[in-house]
Symmetry: C2
Subunit: 315 residues, 2 copies
């Protein structure tokens, strides 16, 4: 490894785990490590954890710098992270400054979904595409925008929150304080809720025993759908339609060439991509806008890590 | 006029009128002319009309070029206009090529609302602002995006259609084919419809006699509101709230610094700006996003004309 030029370390900081890796100019992860995030011990401690992880990954090798993908709002120039949802007590943390001091390396910081979008741009499904949207479907619904070939972060680094685009301004309250956000309809727990509501009238569904055990998740619903369970199929049909409808607004607004969809819930594959792909062009405004393609993310669980490294490798 | 350098002609092509003007580098309209659009006689004829108007405006003076703002979808590089809503029979018209041939001048073409956004950027309420959104409220609801200091038109020139962002994907059908678009709730005729629905239970409203004459418009509703009519005030209150709610999605997605609102319906002023400004930050996601300012457009009816000229003056 020591001989290779153009290496960077990417770190994907999550509420549960810190994942780090050495990434080369081809976007390959040459070496990887992770540790549990000691979130409850406060930002200083977590920054120490990251620094230690980076030191170990680096070893004796030469590294161009460190990219960090964080949840929450990231001010990109100063590398300040604000109110990350899964890191309690992180009001405002100078991730860039603190880590540069600890490590003597160049450090760049981005929101985790934005980092993933950058990863897809350089090494994934978005290679060569000037305007695309990344959507991640999981507990939360996140987004990243690549516009004119660059990550677009808006006036204060907060752009990309597709999950908090209302699909129904008269709808139920979202945890963000708004009403009827996309996340409030298709975030993992709301997919599960939709299944549970349907189970009342369909006790014969494969999902019934799982629900009694309180173990229902989108993953299990997808498995049941793949085994032919009608209720489970209906849940994904509706979920995909809602996402497609929401995306019709985004494509009318931004006219991208491509939409890249990743995250745990997107693992349901055709179950969710099918109805999404069908609803989107039906609702989008003009032929030119309807030409948008919808594809799965290519980098999978490494998107955050590789994308973070590309903050350094492909600035 | 002949002595001044840096002059361009801007043309605002509408379904009813063609407005043209000579614009200088300060965004001032030095000379103006207009003629009725002979839309029913086809694109060739209308292009001839534009050419004649430009010849007259130009006179013996020196002109850098011609900018044309058109309704509908504009492919900006080739200057091709597709399916403009108010110009029947315009399937696909090579406005740039045709006019360059007729006039021997450089010609640039943009969607009319995009041109207005560009006008506001260079000469209006958006001066010095890197990321802002233009919203025009009228019969249709249009939009233009200035991102990273430049007009953003998306992969095929169709970006900016804020009017066709669904505010309720389960809502009524919009003329664009989608459901529950912003325009379907706050386009002029739907504002009038809302007033009419309320009149059934409020015959004492100042609007009643106007409605019996079938003459109700947002302008008259605004006048009644300014004279203290409760029903009329309520109509604008609701309209502003819906727009604010829709914009909460746009700001969560794009995190702009500023929103500029123009168009006939925006003339209602505080009646509509008030509730819009109140609803938006209440719903927008984070403090940083909530800092967005909402201001009236500065260029008024000249926005299209000045903005079109700025396609040449400030490329």
């Amino acid at each position: 490894m020591e001989e290779e030029k153009g290496l960077a370390i990417g770190v994907d900081l999550g509420g549960t785990n810190i994942k780090g890796g050495v990434v080369n100019l081809q976007g390959q992860v040459l070496k990887r490590m992770s540790s549990q995030t000691k979130a409850q011990e406060g930002p200083e401690r977590v920054l120490d954890q990251i620094a230690r992880l980076v030191q170990k990954l680096k070893g004796e090798g030469k590294i161009e710098g460190l990219g960090v993908g964080c949840p929450g709002l990231v001010e990109p120039t100063l590398g300040i992270v604000r109110d990350p949802p899964n890191l309690k007590g992180w009001k405002e943390v100078k991730v860039k400054g603190e880590l540069e001091e600890r490590l003597g390396l160049q450090v760049e910081v981005a929101n985790d979904v934005n980092a993933a979008a950058l990863g897809e741009l350089h090494f994934g499904a978005g290679r060569g595409v000037k305007d695309f949207i990344c959507l991640t479907l999981g507990t939360g619904v996140g987004g990243g925008l690549i516009l004119d070939g660059r990550l677009f972060t808006g006036s204060r680094g907060a752009a990309g929150e597709i999950g908090h685009l209302p699909v129904n301004i008269f709808g139920p309250r979202c945890r963000c304080g708004n009403y009827g956000c996309l996340e409030r309809y298709v975030g993992a727990e709301y997919i599960t809720e939709r299944a549970q509501a349907k189970l009342k009238d369909n006790p014969q569904s494969l999902l019934s025993p799982l629900n009694r055990g309180g173990r229902l998740t989108p993953k299990l619903i997808a498995e049941a759908a793949q085994r032919g369970d009608d209720l489970a199929k209906e849940v994904f049909q509706e979920t995909g339609e809602i996402i497609g409808a929401a995306l019709s607004g985004v494509v009318n607004l931004l006219n991208p060439e491509l939409i890249i969809v990743g995250g745990g819930v997107a693992q349901a594959g055709e179950l969710i991509f099918g109805p999404m792909r069908k609803a989107l062009p039906k609702r989008a405004m003009s032929e030119d806008i309807q030409r948008v393609r919808v594809v799965p993310a290519l980098l999978g669980k490494d998107a955050g890590l590789i994308g973070s490294a590309s903050l350094i490798l492909k600035p």
